[in-house]
């Protein structure tokens, strides 16, 4: 197991290098210039000086090598657009909020999605099942920005539950954005759990467990649920990555000062270092989430341990 983890951690290095290279190439493909803030052309000398200062006059492979070296020392470089701001500062200040929002939405999705799916599967084709699946279909189909807007309309404007519509301070301010962001993955988890549980319930080993006289409660909790969670764990890794990195819209609607705003504005402003820095960070998060998934997978399903080691 340790050997497996060490090898997986080692493999993240080339993945990150490729992510940097791709982002680097894509950003350079977009025409534009980080220093042009208006339509007015910058004098050629100033442009040259700026390019030299940030190393943009060097060939691309030198820029790439230098950037990789800086990342390795946890220096994401200065912002090209925002004066006197390092990318490290932006990450330190704003990233924890995005992490918290995405993490809470993820927990919300798991804590409500799994039981909802389990109840649906155990009461399959009952009104409870139909209601739960209707709810999760709706939750899955409606985009988060619409959910967020509806939440604000109903829970704040029509019936005031005391939730603020913006900011990220007390727990009251976190309820609506977390639920709005977590609703779709919750619905996805519920559907996934329902499907895999129904499939697991049909398995021969469940019949064996019942033939042994085990109590129904134990059959469900040990034999059915555990095996049904394996696909859920597989889906959970990318979902967590998506929630942390994809909360831009929700951050915008609820005016949460997360990292998403910087990400989008940096692309528009051609702020290469900010885009690169955030991309690397988010790539690392997705990679770590998938690593955790693989480790959990090995614990839940002993067969995979033998295949890999």
């Amino acid at each position: 197991m340790t050997k497996f983890i060490v090898r997986r951690v080692f493999w993240t290095i080339p993945v990150i290098l490729v992510v940097i290279l791709l982002t680097f190439g894509l950003m350079r493909q977009i025409k534009g210039n980080p220093f042009r803030t208006s339509e007015r052309a910058i004098p050629a000398e100033i442009q040259r000086n700026l390019d030299r200062k940030f190393g943009l006059d060097k060939p691309w492979y030198e820029q790439y090598a230098r950037y990789v070296k800086n990342v390795a020392t946890f220096d994401l470089g200065p912002s090209l657009v925002l004066r006197n701001r390092d990318v490290n500062d932006i990450v330190k200040e704003h990233f924890p909020r995005s992490l918290e929002l995405g993490g809470l939405a993820f927990l919300f999705a798991l804590v409500f999605g799994i039981p909802l799916g389990a109840v649906s599967a155990l009461k399959a084709n009952s009104w409870l099942d139909y209601a739960a699946m209707f709810f999760s279909n709706v939750g899955f189909a409606i985009p988060s920005f619409l959910v967020a807007t509806l939440f604000i309309y109903f829970f704040v404007l029509q019936f005031d539950f005391g939730f603020p519509t913006s900011g990220w301070t007390g727990w009251e301010s976190k309820v609506l954005p977390v639920v709005a962001l977590g609703l779709a993955p919750m619905a996805a988890f519920a559907r996934l759990v329902r499907g895999t549980m129904l499939e697991t319930l049909q398995q021969d080993y469940i019949r064996t467990a019942r033939a042994k006289g085990l109590r129904w409660r134990r059959v469900i909790s040990l034999h059915v649920l555990r095996n049904s969670l394996i696909p859920v764990v597989t889906a959970a890794g990318p979902t967590l990555g998506f929630l942390i990195t994809g909360s831009f819209v929700i951050e915008q609607i609820f005016a949460i000062p997360g990292v998403g705003r910087y990400y989008v504005t940096a692309v528009q402003a051609r702020d290469y270092s900010v885009v690169m820095g955030l991309t690397v960070l988010l790539a690392v998060i997705v990679i770590v989430a998938n690593l955790v998934v693989d480790i959990l997978y090995g614990i839940l399903d002993p067969r995979t341990r033998d295949v890999r080691t």
Binding site: D204, T208, A211, G213, D306
Partner: protein
Amino acid sequence: MALLEVNDLSTHFFTREGEVRAVDGVTFSVERGKTLGIVGESGCGKSVTALSIMGLIPRPPAKIVAGSVVFDGQDLTKLPEKRLEDLRGREIAMIFQDPMTSLNPTLTIGLQITETIRRHYDVSKQDARKKAIELLEEVRVPRAANRLDDYPHRFSGGMRQRVMIAIALSCDPKLLIADEPTTALDVTVQASVLDLLDDLRHEHDMAMIIITHDMGVVAEAADDIVVMYAGQIVEHAGVQELFDRPEHPYTEALLGALPQLEGEGIREGRLTAIPGRPPDLINPPPACRFAPRCPYANENDTCTTHMPELREIRPNHWVRSAHPVSEREGSRLGTEVPV
């Protein structure tokens, strides 16, 4: 009184297409310490009969619509689920056809054995483990103590079936139901698993129901044989009697489909197949279900319009057919016509 008495058991599946009469008025009994073989082709209702005894039929769509299953004096069809759970694994154990899928792949086999023991007996984890090792040794799993913490995927099919047998024996049941216990195994492994089952049955003084489509399997292991066709019993006799003097055309055909590699009656040439298919069990016509495939039934026979009764053609030899061997013209039994 017999250990198990199945009386007029009917289990039907209620599907969108209609009511499937998977088991239709089946009656038999199993004496203590004896082995009953249930033989028939796939879909004849033999497995559903076993699952009905265990109370493990999938509900819905299946339902026991009539009859009783009296085990040790109590009717299992009337027991509440909790009481049935106490009986399962403790009094009646079952092993299944496919050992590759019958064990939970994510739990060690040690846990899958001990959880059965600890469900039915109040023993410590250590004692249950000790008992599990003894059981694995008894079913001849090599290096039993070392294999307890292994997962099922590290066992071969034959070894997994041995583990299933160990689980089934863990609480010393009075009745063991073996549903096609060797069908999924290599031919070389089949014999050793069958021998093991037979030995253990004697040692533990269990009664056994062995379900199979293979006449060869029941010939060795069973005391009595029930032949099922399309949800009904078509013939029921002692093993010697059934093999020596089969009466039902279906049984006759089954024996004709059995390859014989040694012995006096060695058959030459091709194996005979039974033409046609078993009937649809949704609203079957009130006729002998084997009539469409029966070489002796013709259109004017009453057996194509009336269901023949299961009748005792000789003492303890029951048959459901209008054309049993001994009543045919030129019968082997009556006139000693050479085969």
